[in-house]
C-alpha cells in the first residue's frame, strides 16, 4: 500500500531531522556550559596546577580552599574580608528594591488599567520611556539628587535608584497583564462594597502569580547583576557583590589567584542561577501568558 510507504518515509525523515536537531541543541548546550565548567574545574584546583598546566584538565588535588578564601579572606580593595560582606550588601539592596518595585509596578498597572483617569496613557508613555533611557545619562543628575536627599553612598540610596529605574519595566509588565483582566470583576467587587485596596489584594493579586514571578526574576537578575549604579553610587560600606568581584580581580597584587577569582565569580552568579532554576518554568509560562493575553 502506498499509504504504508508514505508513513515509512515520514518516520524516517522525522528521525533524520530529529537527530540533527538534537545534535544542534547539544552543541549549543556545550557552548554555553563550557565556560561554567572551566570555572568550576579551576575553582577547585590549587593555583600551581592552573599556572603550570592545562586549564581544561581535572584537578590532581581537589581543594575547596579557593572558595573559602573568596568568601571570607581574599583581599578586596584594601581589606582582607572576602566577598561575604558585599554579598550581604547585595542581598540588602536587592531584596527591598525588588519587593518595592514589584509592589509599586503592580499598583501602577492596576491604576492604569482599572482606574483610568485623564492623561493616563501619557503617564504610562512617560513611564515606558524610562525603559529606554541609557543609564549613563542619568548618573550625574542621580548623584546630585542622592546627595541632596542625604542618601549618597548608602544602601537605601542604591535601593532608591534601583526602584526608580525598575519601575518602568514593572509597570509595563503589570499594566499589560491587567489590561487583559476582566473589568467586570472589578465592577462586581465595587458593587459588593470592596474599596480600592481590597479589590487589589483580594481579587487582582491572587490572580497575578505568573506576572509576579516574571517581574521578580527580571528585577532580581537586573539589580543583582548591576555594576554601573553600584560602582557609581555605593560607598565603601555599601558596595554590592559585582563591584567587590571587580575589586577582587583587579586588586590582587603579585600573582593572580585565578582559582579564587573563579570561585568568586561563581559565588556572584549563584543567586541568579538559583532564581532561574527554581522559577524558570514560571518565567516562560508567565511571559507566554502575558504576551498571549496582553
Amino acid at each position: 500500500m502506498s499509504g504504508a510507504v508514505d508513513t515509512g518515509v515520514a518516520i524516517r525523515t522525522n528521525r533524520v531531522t530529529r537527530t540533527f536537531i538534537y545534535l544542534f541543541l547539544l552543541l549549543f548546550a556545550l557552548f554555553y556550559l563550557l565556560p561554567l565548567a572551566v570555572m568550576l574545574i579551576n575553582s577547585v584546583k590549587p593555583l600551581s596546577e592552573i599556572t603550570g598546566g592545562n586549564m581544561m584538565a581535572l584537578p590532581n588535588v581537589w581543594t575547596f580552599e579557593p572558595w573559602r578564601e573568596a568568601w571570607s579572606s581574599a583581599q578586596i580593595g584594601v581589606q582582607p574580608t572576602g566577598l561575604r560582606p558585599y554579598f550581604i550588601n547585595s542581598i540588602l539592596i536587592v531584596v527591598p528594591a525588588v519587593a518595592i518595585s514589584t509592589i509599586m509596578g503592580a499598583l501602577n498597572g492596576y491604576v492604569l488599567t482599572k482606574w483610568r483617569f485623564r492623561g493616563d496613557t501619557i503617564l504610562f508613555g512617560m513611564l515606558l520611556f524610562s525603559c529606554f533611557i541609557p543609564f549613563q545619562i542619568v548618573l550625574i543628575p542621580m548623584a546630585r539628587v542622592l546627595g541632596m536627599i542625604g542618601l549618597a553612598g548608602s544602601v537605601p540610596g542604591l535601593i532608591l535608584v534601583h526602584v526608580v529605574y525598575g519601575l518602568g519595566f514593572t509597570t509595563l509588565y503589570f499594566r499589560n497583564y491587567y489590561s487583559a483582566f476582566p473589568t467586570e470583576l472589578v465592577r462586581a467587587a465595587q458593587i459588593d462594597g470592596a474599596g480600592f485596596f481590597r479589590i487589589f489584594y483580594r481579587i487582582l493579586l491572587p490572580l497575578s502569580g505568573p506576572i509576579i514571578v516574571v517581574t521578580i526574576i527580571w528585577q532580581f537578575t537586573n539589580i543583582w547583576n548591576d555594576f554601573l549604579f553600584g560602582s557609581s553610587f555605593a560607598g565603601q560600606a555599601s558596595q554590592p557583590m559585582t563591584v567587590a568581584l571587580n575589586n577582587l580581580v583587579q586588586s590582587s597584587t603579585g600573582v593572580k589567584a585565578y582559582n579564587v577569582h573563579f570561585a568568586g565569580a561563581i559565588l556572584a552568579a549563584l543567586p541568579t542561577l538559583i532564581v532561574y532554576i527554581v522559577s524558570g518554568r514560571f518565567f516562560v509560562r508567565g511571559l507566554m501568558a502575558g504576551s498571549v493575553k496582553g
Binding site: 470583576l185 465592577r187 459588593d192 470592596a194
Partner: protein
Amino acid sequence: MGLLDISNVTKSYGAVEVLHSVDISVDEGEFLVLVGPSGCGKSTLLSMIAGLEGITSGEISIKGRTMNGVHPSKRNIAMVFQSYALYPNMTVGQNITFGLEMHGTPKPEREDAMNRVAEMLQIDNLLSRKPGQLSGGQRQRVAMGRALVRDPDVFLFDEPLSNLDAKLRVDMRTEIKKLHQSLGTTIVYVTHDQIEAMTLSTRIAVMNKGYVQQLGTPKEIYDTPSNVFVATFMGSPAMNVFPSRIVVKDGAPHAAVTGHDGVEQLLRFPQANLAAWDGREILLGIRPETITDPEGADRNAAHIASLRNHIGVTEPAGSDTFVTMTLGGRDAIARMRADVTVRAGEIFDFAVNMDKAVAFDPKTEERIQP
C-alpha cells in the same frame, strides 16, 4: 413616584450623547426589561443605575433617595453581569458571601444567608468548588446567588442568559420568572432578545439609538407599537410593514393594498379617524399571525378582510406554516396553521384581521393614533 425613578437622564461620552433624556419609573415588584439592538445604550443605562457610570445630567433615585454620586455599594442594588464576573480565585461559597463580608456581616449570618440562597438555587453541592470547575448554567446560578444573598432593593441583570445554549436559556428564563414571582423583587433586566423581553417582563422599554422608543406592558408594545421601529423589532417573525393608501368608501376608511398582480384591493379599517387620511399614503403594519386562511381566522375579530394573493414560498415549521407573499411591493409573511393546504404559486384567499392592523405616518414612522 416609583421605587426606582430615572428622570430626564442623559449620558455623554465626550461630545457624543449616547442616551437622550430617558424617563422611566419602576414600581416595587416590577420586572422591567430594557430591550433594543446592539449599541442602543441598554448596558450604559443599567451601569448608571448601578453607579458604575456617571450621570451626565438628570437624576436617578431609589426609594426617593437621589443616587447621583452615591457609590455602587451604598445603593443597595445587586447586579448580574453578562460574563457573570465570578471571582476565579474564590470558591462558590466565598463568591456568594464576598459582598456580605465587605459590608461587615458577621460570619454565622453570612453562612446562614449562603445556605439559604444555595438551597434555593440548588447549588448547595457546589459551594466548595472554584468557578473554573463549573458549567455555564451553574456559573449563571452562582452569579444569581451572589445577587440574591444581599437582599437588595433592585436587581440589575445585564444579558444574563446570552452565554447559555438555547435549551438552557429557556430553562433559566423560566427559573428567573419563577424567582421573580416568588420573591416579588424589583428587577431591571437588559436583553436584546425580544422573546426574553416579552416572556419575562411586566413592562418593557424598547430602546433604539439612545432613545426610549416605547415604554409599556408586553401587550401594549405588541399590539399598539408606537412606531415602525418598535413594530418590527418586537415579534418574530417581524410585523409586515408596507406602503398603502387610505381610501374612504361607503363612509369607512379602507387600506388600499397591492398584491402580486398590481391590482389594488381594499381592506376595511376599523379605525374611524383614518378617514381624515383619505387619499394619502400610509405604512400599514400587519402581524404575520393575523394573516390566515379564512377558517383559521380569529372568530372574535370584528373586522376580517379578505385578501386575494399569490402564494410565494411555503415554509412548514412544525407548529405553523409560514407563507411568503408580495404586499405593497415588499415581502410579507403570513403565519398559518400547520395543517393548512397551500401550494407555492397558487392564488389564495387570505383572511386579514384588521382589528390588529396598525397604520403609521410614512414621514415620521409614528403610529397614527386612533
